[in-house]
């Protein structure tokens, strides 16, 4: 199995533990990746506010790079997954727009035909690798743990661009993977909520209320930790949880926010330094102690 690898900016920036744990898991599973080193940032929907054509052009350029290699793209981030999928969906529906973008890309020698598939590691594990095969790599069952799933907006919306019409079960994959490691996925009504990260620097008060509601309600429902496939959700829910909880609920940060590959690496019994739980702001020690 081989993929064109698109780790995203945040895995190389604010969440290095996501990259190290993902690479360790991929190595254990013998999934080969070839990084698209020339690919640009997706724009995360933010660049698109000011310059949608530039955002779409950069993303179609990335899709064309993978198409040249005849590989599907693997992402590690809900936002990268969503924004690349949206661009892909848009140009597949609108051939005139694709021609306009291809015209911009021709100088560099790219021409996107519309055949690249973009898949988050979460989807790859369930759809391409298979959970039975994945489970055969686990050495430790995380059966004492209860996890709240938290998908990140762009992993679930807009459902049309994410292929949910053909694969509606994608809305349940995170719970499936949590159960595959032996843990309990709690019924968490906020699993498709917004973490508040997009407005962190714009309206911090609102952003922190979202962090407090999401982490506080998951804790109230008995979660030991929250598991997310999105590093941006992690940054906000982990990094700002202390301030958010004290401002809004008058309590303390007590819910570790685990990257989905970290949870898998824990079940595989991989090296601590690769899993990188020590890098979290909200301590994950109790999670490790319960294993």
């Amino acid at each position: 199995m081989k993929y064109a690898f698109y780790p995203g900016c945040v895995a190389r920036g604010g969440t290095p533990e996501l990259l190290s744990s993902s690479m360790a898991v991929l190595k254990e599973l013998d999934i080969e990746v070839e990084e698209l080193t020339k690919a640009g940032c997706t724009g995360a929907g933010v660049l698109q506010e000011k310059n949608p054509l530039l955002g779409d052009t950069i993303n179609v350029r990335t899709l064309a790079m993978a198409e040249e290699k005849n590989l599907s793209i693997m992402t590690l981030c809900s936002t990268c997954q969503g924004v690349l999928s949206q661009a892909n969906h848009k140009v597949k529906k609108d051939s005139k727009y694709l021609a306009k973008i291809n015209d911009l890309l021709k100088e560099e020698g790219y021409e996107y035909k519309g055949t690249t598939e973009v898949k988050h590691l979460l989807w790859i594990l369930v759809e391409d690798y298979g959970l039975d095969k994945l489970e055969s790599h686990f050495t430790t069952k995380l059966s004492n743990l209860k996890f709240a799933p938290f998908y990140g907006c762009y992993m679930v919306r807009p459902s049309e661009a994410l292929g949910f019409d053909e694969k509606p079960e994608r809305k349940m994959y995170l719970e499936k993977v949590i159960e595959s490691v032996g843990a309990e996925a709690i019924e968490f009504p906020g699993k498709f909520s917004c973490c508040g990260f997009p407005v962190l620097f714009i309206n911090q008060k609102n952003s922190l209320k979202m962090v407090s509601n999401n982490t506080g309600s998951a804790k109230d429902l008995g979660a030991d930790a929250m598991v997310t496939p999105c590093p941006l959700c992690h940054l906000n829910l982990d990094g700002y949880q202390g301030k958010a909880r004290s401002n809004n609920r008058g309590d303390k940060a007590d819910l570790p926010i685990i990257h989905m590959p970290q949870m898998i690496a824990l079940a595989m019994g991989l090296e601590k330094k690769d899993i990188g739980l020590g890098r979290h702001i909200v301590s994950a020690k109790e999670v490790v102690n319960k294993i």
Partner: protein, 318 residues
């Protein structure tokens, strides 16, 4: 087919225990909608159940409510689709709006926000020949906005309104775009400057896409909000943290091909805004201690100059 509805009831006249879930089991035709089932309850089983409905054809926008947690027009939702094997359906009133009774919510805040955006054309002068002529092309561009039936589903699911009821919200912003982009309206910059307000304006949207997902008419309110942001920047309405955020993002992607997280945090706060900058210090220090502070020298995409060239080519073409 047999269907079981679990309906969230609310009776404001009951002194206590005024909220409860009531179960109704009935036989309905296979082609029935959730609204058909609810009307059956009201007319044949329990006349005290309160719900709002009118056209039964997804035109009037009256019957918005939550089915299994998702906001829907119940006249457009078939029971069989959600309950193919007789699964129970949970019916609740819409979110983010006060409940008057059972499934009926108070829409007065919804319409007050609609009024706030002056939902009527404001030309500066009288038409030259008795009427304003708008081209077919310009009206076609407004078709998505004009499809809004004001059902309130987008407001029900808005993740910002959940935490801040001063946000003007997706429905009113989508309606505002219908007037901003109408060639007969001459208040474009006044409208945009007003919607650009930091308190509850267009930049408070988190782009979570809940509104896009639930809109039964394809209005895609969040996309309309993105249009408004782009146009506000074009007319020079730039004194917002939202503008600094997207501008910084564009600069760092254009320069490096990748996002420079440190620069984004500093520039979004405003590099001369000492209070906002100080606010970043504790988080920055914690991240530094844990070894997850974004690098000061930003990562660059290999061949990042190509992205700079693309940005330049796009600018020149426009």
């Amino acid at each position: 087919m047999e269907v079981t509805l679990n309906v969230k009831r609310f009776d404001p006249e009951k002194p206590k225990n005024n909220t409860w879930i009531q179960e109704y089991v009935m036989d309905i035709h296979q082609s029935s909608t959730v609204l058909d089932a609810l009307i059956h309850v009201r007319e044949e089983m329990d006349g005290t159940l309160a719900l709002r409905c009118a056209c039964r054809a997804s035109i009037c926008g009256s019957c918005g409510m939550k089915v299994n947690g998702e906001a829907k027009l119940v006249c457009k939702t078939r029971v069989e689709e959600l309950s193919p094997n007789g699964e129970k359906l949970l019916i609740e009133p819409m979110g983010n709006q006060p409940v008057i009774k059972d499934l009926i919510v108070d829409l007065s805040a919804f319409f007050a926000k609609m009024e706030q955006i002056s939902p009527f054309l404001q030309p500066n002068k009288e038409p030259e020949s008795g009427e304003f002529i708008a081209s077919n092309d310009s009206m076609e561009k407004l078709l998505t906005e004009m499809n809004c039936i004001m059902c309130g589903l987008c407001v029900s699911e808005c993740t910002v309104l959940e935490v801040d009821n001063t946000f003007i919200g997706p429905a009113a912003l989508a309606k505002a775009s219908r007037f901003v982009y109408d060639p007969r309206d001459d208040k474009t910059s006044e409208r945009l400057n007003c919607l650009n307000d930091e308190a509850g304006g267009m930049w408070d949207c988190t782009r979570c896409m809940q509104c896009v997902e639930v809109c039964p008419k394809g209005v895609s309110p969040m996309d309309r909000i993105m249009d408004l942001r782009e146009t506000a920047i074009e007319i020079g309405a730039k004194k917002t943290h939202g503008y600094h955020h997207t501008n910084s993002f564009e600069k760092s992607v254009t320069a490096n091909g990748r996002l420079d997280e440190s620069r984004l945090a500093l520039e979004s706060a405003g590099i001369f805004n000492i209070f906002r900058l100080l606010d970043l210090v504790p988080v920055g220090l914690r991240a530094l201690i844990r070894g997850k502070l974004p690098p000061f020298i930003p990562h660059k995409a290999k061949d990042n100059k190509k992205i700079k060239e693309l940005a330049k080519a796009i600018k020149e073409k426009e």
